[in-house]
């Protein structure tokens, strides 16, 4: 009894140790210091849950009974890992990119999110796993019995199984449903089972080493001992060897717990690359000493000892209590780790595919409150875990323990492995359809149920004895263990062959005949082409989720707007960073924002996709968003370009028109200049020649002609002066000589100059001197040039009988107007527009000017900051010179 107490104490300590390991791993992961949790070695060790108590204890038993056959259970998985490039690589990538939570989720999601398939696979998993959990409970009970020394039988030990079940349920609930992120990774659990993996390997190796070197005396002797024993011949049934190899490989891929650690908990390809070589080695070490232990056990223990417990009983028989204790812990580790992971995997499936859909159906109105759903999921997970363990315990209690359970291992393998055709077909063949998968699974499940599972409870339990003898209702070819008259092969092999054959036929045939829905086709493409799809995305932190939302929002709203929105929301939540928490309020805001760009339904779908639980993958939506954004961008760019082109073309046309106009103007101008220059030159040349060549010209004629030449020369000079003046003014090269002057003085000078040459008509000038006392700050020389021009024009062109010119000065709102109004007929209305243009000579009269005067005036006045205009309707010709007065005031 002291031994039992020590055992209990050690077990409890060990359990606390595991709790601590899980707790610290979980905490490290939550604090972001969990990088080491993703290391390949941890991943590899976690795969060891494949080695359950059934293998820890049962392998020796199996070896003792069937020789080498036990190896197939490990050789199959070894081959799967050695061949990781074929299936596992793809499987884990799909798992990561599609955020697969379980094997049921994989099948359901691959075949267009069919919940029916999800439910089917879940049921299959529950049916296949429950006996297995019972088996683990039994192994713990049996191992405890070994120490208690009680006779075989379980009546006394029912409580042990119950306590173990309850303890495991608590552990699993605590560490298995701690976080409910989109991913289903459980760092604490994974770490704990990695530790357990080391414990069980160490325990088995220790026992093995003790057996080989401690008891047998070395490698050579132990090999001799093996050869000499009943197991000393290589005698295996070829069919079973190959069949079990296949079955274990298939089960390795399909077992819910294996899928959990291998695919769901997988974080990167590097983990798999290490497992590809390290896990086969682990399995090899696990199986290395099985045969020696079996042989020695058979040798040294009394006849009738349970070979399933040799791992414990052999050390005990040699008084190695410590070693036996270690071995017990190994077995305990194997059992608990398997149960924990299986419970997590099953509860995920049950919760996601059975409980949640039902809950949602009955509570449609409440779904909108997302916090609600989260709680429901957690509760549902916890209840499912408890349910799975309860089911395992009940199964154990009802089955009566013993040998009936031991055989259930392979039976369960076969059942669970029925998923294989749908799984492999789903990831390699785009033609696989939901109908095909459903048909294959159903057929496989039914055949397995009929040929293996039900008969496994013993004839008479579920299947009438007569059925196994003569077939149901006397139909021999329906005999569960000899379908279609195939007799003479092992019942297990028979079931494996028929179930897989019919399963595959149904899957393939129905897939060929049916047509997939669009969603199925989309998912099919995603799964089969996972390597080409976008790289694996990490969803491990909720920060990553916000980041993903950010990436998406940027693509839709544009980087600046999206960042502003996220920052604003983060501030509103009282956070320092740029990423807000993905709270329901925030999601609502974001959804509204996105809906403005992509429509409400799409926005809802996209956000739902990222925060979890909807059908089409994020990668798809990203692609859609990208395309849309690109298309919008391209079309916007094209539009802009087209507008630009139109604008450029218009500008070019305008420029061309302007050049043409300028060219025409330049031609006209040159023509005019030419004319204006050549005309006086003609006279000068003609009269010069006359004076030179003509004999006998009178003195008067000589004088007259000489004066004509003189006048024309002056005309030429004036023209050239005007041209130069205008050119300088137009080019803006004129330097103004700004100074103060009184307007009346300027006018005095101008009048005097304009009237200086008395040979033209007499012009009366009226002025109001009192008004002219305005001080100007301007270039008085230039201003007087303007006034001279205007007065001279009046003198030349005024056609009144008695020409008169009135000069009015008037100060109006910051400027001074100087009006020159004569009493002639004025400028014809049609000419008023052009009088300020160059060479715009409107009068028929010969005035000796080149028509540049007013053009020059306009240039000068505008340089002085003023304006010159023609005033129509003032009786005669009326010009107004308007000068800014602010300068004048400033001068005062």
């Amino acid at each position: 009894m002291t031994m039992l107490n020590a055992l209990a104490a050690i077990s409890i300590l060990y359990v606390f140790f595991l709790f601590a390991v899980a707790f610290f791993a979980e905490r490290a992961a939550r604090r972001g210091r969990g990088n080491w949790l993703h290391t390949p070695i941890i991943y590899t060790l976690s795969l060891s849950i494949y080695c359950t108590a059934w293998t820890f204890y049962g392998a020796v038993g199996s070896a003792a009974r069937n020789g080498f056959e036990y190896l197939t259970i490990y050789l199959g998985p070894s081959l799967v890992l050695i061949g990781w490039w074929w299936v596992l690589r793809k499987l884990v990538r799909i798992g990561r990119s599609q955020r697969i939570t379980s094997v049921a989720d994989l099948i359901s999601s691959r075949y267009g999110k069919s919940n029916l398939l999800g439910v089917g696979v879940t049921l299959l998993a529950v049916v296949g796993t429950t006996p297995y959990i019972a088996l683990q409970l039994q192994s713990v009970v049996l191992s405890v019995e070994v120490f208690s020394g009680a006779p075989d039988g379980m009546a006394n030990n029912q409580p042990t199984a119950l306590w173990v079940a309850v303890g495991l349920a608590i552990f699993t609930v605590i560490f298995g449903t701690r976080n409910l992120d989109a991913n289903e990774r459980h760092h604490g659990v994974v770490m704990a089972i990695a530790v357990e993996a080391i414990v069980k390997l160490a325990a088995l190796l220790a026992v093995g080493i003790f057996v080989v070197w401690g008891i047998s005396g070395g490698v050579g002797p132990v090999l001799d001992r093996i050869d000499a024993s009943a197991l000393g011949r290589w005698e295996v049934q070829g069919g079973r060897w190959a069949g079990l190899l296949f079955l274990s490989a298939a089960a390795f891929l399909c077992l819910p717990r294996m899928f959990q650690v291998m695919v769901v908990e997988n974080d990167n390809d590097a983990q798999l690359r290490m497992a590809a070589w390290a896990f086969p080695l682990y399995l090899m070490l696990m199986s290395l000493f099985i045969l020696p232990i079996a042989v020695v056990g058979l040798d040294v223990l009394p006849e009738g000892s349970n070979p399933d417990l040799f791992v414990l009983t052999v050390p005990l028989a040699f008084g190695q209590d410590g070693l036996a204790m270690l071995s017990f812990l190994g077995g305990f580790s194997s059992a608990t780790s398997m149960v924990i992971v299986a419970a997590i995997a099953l509860s995920t499936m049950v919760s996601n595919h059975i409980v949640m859909p039902l809950w949602l159906r009955f509570n449609e109105t409440r779904v909108s409150v997302s916090g609600d759903v989260r709680n429901v999921v957690l509760v549902s997970r916890r209840v499912s875990i408890a349910g799975v363990l309860a089911l395992g315990y009940l199964y154990y209690a009802q089955s009566g323990g013993g040998a009936a359970l031991a055989t259930i291992g392979l039976v369960a393998f076969t059942g669970v492995a029925q998923v294989l055709p749908a799984l492999l077909g789903g990831i390699f063949w785009r033609g696989a359809t939901r109908a095909g998968a459903f048909a294959g699974l159903t057929v496989g499940f039914l055949v397995w149920l009929y040929t293996l599972y039900l008969p496994s409870f013993g004839s008479g339990a579920f299947v009438p004895e007569s059925w196994l003898e003569t077939g149901p209702f006397g139909v021999m070819w329906l005999n569960p263990q000899a379908l279609f008259g195939i007799t003479g092969i092992d019942p297990l092999l028979h079931a494996v062959l028929w179930s897989f054959f019919l399963n595959t036929i149904a899957f393939f045939g129905v897939s060929l005949a049916s047509f997939p829905s669009p969603l199925e086709r989309l998912q099919g493409a995603q799964f089969v082409n996972v390597q080409q799809a976008t790289g694996p995305r990490s969803w491990s932190q909720s920060g990553a989720q916000a980041e993903d939302l950010m990436v998406m929002a940027q693509r839709i709203l544009g980087a600046a707007d999206a960042q502003a929105l996220f920052l604003r929301e983060a501030r509103r939540q009282g956070l320092d960073g740029h990423l807000p928490m993905t709270s329901p309020e925030f999601l609502e805001v974001l959804e509204r924002e996105l809906a403005g760009s992509v429509g409400a339904a799409t926005a809802h779908a996209m956000i739902g996709q990222i925060v979890g639980g909807m059908s089409i993958s994020v990668a798809d939506l990203m692609a859609v968003a990208d395309e849309t954004a690109q298309m919008m961008e391209t079309s916007a760019r094209l539009e802009a370009q087209s507008r630009e082109l139109t604008r450029t073309a218009a500008q070019l046309r305008a420029a061309n028109d302007k050049l043409t106009r300028l060219s025409v103007q330049k031609d006209a101008f040159l023509s005019q200049i030419s004319h204006e220059l050549r005309t006086p030159m003609t006279s000068i040349r003609a009269f010069s020649e006359i004076l030179r060549d003509t004999d006998g010209i009178t003195r008067e004629e000589q004088n007259r002609y000489a004066s004509i030449i003189h006048d024309e020369a002056i005309r030429l000079t004036r023209l050239l002066d005007d041209l130069l003046d205008l050119s300088v003014l137009e080019n803006g090269q004129v330097s103004l000589n700004i100074g103060q002057g009184v307007l009346s003085d300027v006018l005095d000078r101008a009048v005097a100059a304009a009237l200086a040459h008395g040979d033209e008509q007499v012009l009366m000038i009226h002025r109001h001197r009192s008004r002219e006392e305005v001080i100007l700050n301007t270039d008085t020389e230039r201003l007087s040039q303007v006034f001279i021009n205007l007065i001279a024009n009046a003198r030349k062109y005024c056609d009144a009988g008695r020409p008169e010119l009135s000069i009015h000065v008037e100060q109006i709102a910051g400027s001074v107007n100087v009006d020159f109004v004569d009493n002639g007929s004025g400028v014809a209305p049609e000419a008023q527009d052009v009088i300020f243009e160059k060479f715009a000579r409107v009068s028929d009269q010969k005035a000796g000017g080149a028509g540049l005067g007013l053009a020059i005036c306009r240039q000068i006045v505008s340089r002085l900051g003023g304006e010159i205009s023609y005033l129509p309707g003032r009786g005669g010709a009326a010009f107004r010179v308007s000068l800014p007065l602010n300068q004048a005031l400033a001068a005062q």
Partner: protein, 89 residues
């Protein structure tokens, strides 16, 4: 997707070529393992099978050899790692 993707070269540079051959080896390895492990079935001479110790040494030798080769392939692949790995022949 079946078939060579558009624009993929007919011939690839040396490193890529090496890498693809490594992948070929990784694919062939489980087949080799399976054949080797099925081989003992053919040994079974009627009445007298091979001795258990011989078989055990044979099977475990393969079991040690396969992971070593597999690990060597993984390391070789990682050495030749390239940014984008196409999954084709």
């Amino acid at each position: 997707m079946s078939g060579a993707p558009q624009g993929s070269p007919l011939f690839v540079e040396r490193q890529t070529y090496r890498r693809r051959r490594l992948v070929d080896a990784a694919r062939a390895l489980p087949v080799l393992g399976l054949l080797l492990w099925l081989l003992p079935l053919l040994w079974a001479v009627p009445e007298e099978g091979p001795s258990a110790s011989t078989t055990m040494i044979y099977i475990f030798s393969i079991w040690l050899g396969l992971p070593i080769v597999s690990g060597a392939l993984v390391f070789a692949m990682r050495r030749l790692r390239e940014p984008a790995v196409g999954d084709d022949t």
